[in-house]
């Protein structure tokens, strides 16, 4: 039997996020948060910890809520509707996920509780100029010298890079630039000598950074797991983050559709609401279809991640979701702006920011073409 309704727990989680957004995350508040120095609200982060949200991505073994991808998707969808900029994906889903998969028992015991109680910000520095979306393409070098390892290279698109206390740096200990073996992840304190961080906000308001590492020394003990074996964990973490960002995009598209339909009912031209024009009605019907298909495929991917499918099937389903979501994003995002007309192009209205958010989501963790081709090649 197919059951697609939320469990009681999922419903509670959903309502708890909805309540928070309604009370504390209107559009103006969000703008103020983005304009603040950190670019996210510590107060909100503390609240997320208090409400237990930061435990959602983690398995029970890690002290988490269970690590269900469906739970995560339910939550991210609500985040997406209001375009939350807090670094949930960067710290809890991606970095937390990589530590959970690849870290030693001591490393997990040390770091995961801190993530869940909200006292630690992390960032995963894996992408590099020229690597595009290929996770195995890592040129940053890690050279072991006795008890220390020396890192050299530069990282791009490091989400939460400017706020993280610890960076998870993917670096190559052996092999050629695109080999799957030879990649390790090191825990590097952001304040270490030789680390320089260029910080900025992305088009979706989330903080990101370009990071360069010049002769950065860290103890070998800061390597996650064994030497050269981190690619699979990185892949799994990014897959989970991909699902999370896809679910977020489903929420944002839902908002785009809703706002567009409402606007078309109130905006009058030629003596009538523009929503009465069939030319626009059909296009909004198409937006609705896109939103529904997007949601369906995200649910599919989440269920497969939670189910007994093979690792290959899980990965394939994530790429399928991201690819389909990407197509929906383009259509729903562009139509929302077009139907709003000029007003949709202004910074003052939230619809434009939703458009920018979903545009970033389309690129994040691999764009539509990348995931379509990955799906085909798996």
């Amino acid at each position: 039997m197919w059951i697609f309704s939320n469990t009681e727990e999922q419903q509670m989680l959903q309502e708890s996020v909805q309540k928070f957004v309604y009370k504390s995350y209107d559009f103006d508040t969000r703008n103020q948060i983005i304009a603040s120095e950190k670019g996210f609200s510590q107060e909100n982060w503390d609240l997320f910890a208090e409400l237990g949200w930061l435990t959602v991505p983690f398995k029970e073994d890690d002290g988490g809520f269970g690590g269900s991808a469906v739970d995560l998707a339910v939550m991210m969808e609500e985040f997406g509707k209001a375009m939350l900029v807090e670094p949930f994906i960067a710290t809890a889903v991606l970095a937390g996920g990589v530590i959970s998969e690849q870290g030693s028992a001591e490393q997990k015991a040390e770091l995961l509780p801190k993530i869940m109680e909200g006292s630690l910000q992390l960032a995963c520095a894996y992408a590099e100029q020229g690597s595009r979306f290929n996770l195995a393409n890592i040129k940053t070098s890690a050279v072991v010298e006795g008890d220390t390892v020396v890192l050299n290279g530069s990282k791009t698109a490091v989400l939460n890079g400017s706020n993280a206390e610890i960076l998870l740096v993917a670096a190559r200990e052996s092999g050629a630039a695109t080999d799957s073996e030879g990649i390790s992840v090191f825990l590097v304190e952001a304040a270490s000598a030789g680390v320089s961080i260029q910080s900025f906000a992305n088009v979706d308001g989330k903080k990101s950074a370009e990071i360069s590492l010049k002769d950065v020394s860290v103890p070998v003990s800061q390597r996650l797991g064994t030497s050269g074996s981190a690619l699979q964990a990185l892949q799994d973490g990014v897959d989970r983050a991909t699902l999370a960002v896809s679910a977020e995009a489903v929420g944002a598209m839902e908002s785009l559709l809703h706002k567009t339909v409402e606007y078309s009912k109130t905006r009058k031209q030629f003596g009538t609401a523009i929503g009465t024009f069939q030319a626009l009605q059909h296009r909004m019907a198409d937006m609705f279809i896109e939103c529904q298909l997007a949601r369906s495929i995200v649910i599919m991917a989440a269920m497969k991640l939670d189910g007994g499918e093979s690792a290959l099937e899980k990965t394939k389903s994530v790429s399928a979701a991201k690819s389909r979501i990407g197509r929906a994003i383009q259509k729903v995002g562009q139509e929302a702006i077009q139907i709003h007309g000029g007003i949709g192009m202004t910074e003052e209205l939230d619809v434009g920011h939703l458009f920018k958010s979903v545009t970033a989501a389309e690129i994040m963790f691999g764009n539509t073409d990348y995931h379509t081709q990955r799906f085909a090649s798996l």
């Binding site: 992408a127 100029q129 020229g130 690597s131 595009r132 979306f133 290929n134 393409n137 791009t156 698109a157 630039a177 695109t178 260029q198 900025f200 906000a201 992305n202 088009v203 979706d204 308001g205 990101s208 370009e210 009058k268 031209q269 030629f270 003596g271 030319a279 626009l280 383009q330 562009q334 702006i337 077009q338 007309g341 000029g342 949709g344 192009m345 202004t346 910074e347 003052e348 434009g352 920011h353 458009f355 920018k356 545009t359 970033a360 690129i363 994040m364 764009n367 073409d369 379509t372 081709q373």
Partner: protein, 399 residues
């Protein structure tokens, strides 16, 4: 059928090419290539160079100091300008208000305004759209009430491009509320320095304030700033809108951007040891855009052929607007695609003139998303693409 240029036309093409190579300042060319906006002074400077050459007003007749070019010559000029990235003269004076002045202005008005437009001494802006009158322009409400030798103007205009630079604004105003909406509109020229005018910048999604809302509060305008007859403004405006719609296909600019896309793709790693020019999905999309551009170019040439034998630009020009703008938007998608993560940083100030800080990302890759956002306007302004499709369905298909 023949799409070859004559010997004279080929010679003209060479002359234009040579002039642009030598006289379009290299400094501006570099900025355009880097995605940096030219300042007001730079645009005016460039237009004055064109004026000195006698080519400022490509669409004007000789009697007013224009080039008197044929449709083909205009096409050649626009093509060469687009290929090198030289900005067309700001259209509000040269291409919008000037043709209306020539057709409906008094001799006194022509003498007063046209030379300054030609010489780029005065910057014009457009006062058409209002917050509640976009696609339905004729429903505009900004009122002008006659009071002795003056009109008193109240209301607001929006989507006013570069109003912050403007010395004058041409406006559609309501002078009669008792008749059919199209029949109570007048065309009026207003000095932006007149007391009662205020400007509010509108920041768009790319973080740049290129448009404004303009407010009129008891603004007193001399009655001799009215163009033609009172309540005939809608007729005049329609002439202007036709002019706005020619040359909107942007084929030359499209060719330039396509070449840039190909260059960029060849220099962009695909992450697997090759370049994006070898990526099958990207290659296919690039080819589709290339092919569409050729179909558009020949559609434009066919329209041009009709113009050159004296036919007026018909409703078919809507095709050029729709396809041209949608194609330009597709190219933005390809630039975003190529940039990958590099288009995510939102640092619009680095593409403003005189930026001194540390740039984010290689080259102008971070401009790709900004351009993608900004160019959503293309299918909205100048008569939205929905309005253009209405024109085709009504005026061409008779539906």
């Amino acid at each position: 059928m023949n799409a070859d240029f004559t010997a004279e036309e080929l010679q003209f093409e060479n002359e234009v090419r040579e002039f642009l190579q030598n006289d379009f300042p290299a400094e501006y060319r570099e900025k355009v290539d880097a995605g940096i906006r030219l300042s007001k002074d730079e645009l005016v400077h460039w237009q004055k160079i064109l004026y000195k050459k006698g080519w400022a007003a490509s669409n004007w007749p000789v009697e007013h100091g224009g080039t008197g070019w044929s449709a083909t010559e205009k096409h050649i000029f626009a093509t060469e300008m687009g290929l090198i990235g030289a900005p067309e003269p700001v259209p509000f004076g040269m291409k919008m208000v000037a043709p209306v002045l020539m057709a409906y202005g008094s001799d006194e008005q022509k003498q007063r305004f046209l030379p300054d437009i030609l010489q780029s001494n005065v910057w014009w802006c457009q006062g058409y759209s209002e917050p509640n009158s976009g696609s339905d322009l004729a429903s505009l409400k900004t009122s002008a009430v006659r009071d002795g030798d003056e009109y008193v103007v109240n209301g607001s205009k929006t989507w006013n491009t570069y109003g912050q630079y403007a010395d004058w604004i041409f406006c559609l105003v309501r002078t009669d509320t008792s008749v059919k909406k199209q029949e109570g509109i007048s065309f009026m020229l207003i000095d932006m320095k007149t007391p009662g005018i205020t400007l509010k910048p509108i920041v768009l999604l790319d973080g740049h304030a290129e448009v404004n809302e303009v407010f009129f509060d008891e603004v007193r305008v001399p009655a001799n700033n009215l163009i033609g007859e009172e309540n005939k403004g809608w007729t005049y405006a329609k002439v202007l809108l036709t002019h706005e719609r020619t040359n909107i296909s942007g084929v030359p600019r499209g060719k330039r951007r396509l070449a840039a896309l190909k260059r960029l793709a060849g220099n962009t790693d695909d992450g697997f040891g090759g370049t994006m020019l070898e990526n099958s999905a990207f290659k296919t999309k690039l080819a589709e855009v290339d092919i569409e551009l050729q179909a558009l170019e020949y559609s434009e040439l066919r329209t041009l052929a009709a113009l050159s034998v004296g036919k007026a630009p018909g409703p078919e020009s809507s095709i050029l607007k729709i396809v041209g703008t949608e194609l330009a938007q597709e190219m933005d998608e390809l630039f975003v695609d190529l940039a990958g993560y590099n288009c995510l940083p939102f640092v619009p100030e680095q593409f403003e003139d005189g930026f001194q800080g540390e740039a984010v990302g290689p080259g102008n890759s971070a401009a790709a998303a900004l351009s993608y956002f900004n160019n959503r306007k293309l299918s909205i302004f100048g008569g939205s693409n929905e309005i253009q499709r209405n024109i085709i369905s009504k005026a061409v298909l008779g539906l």
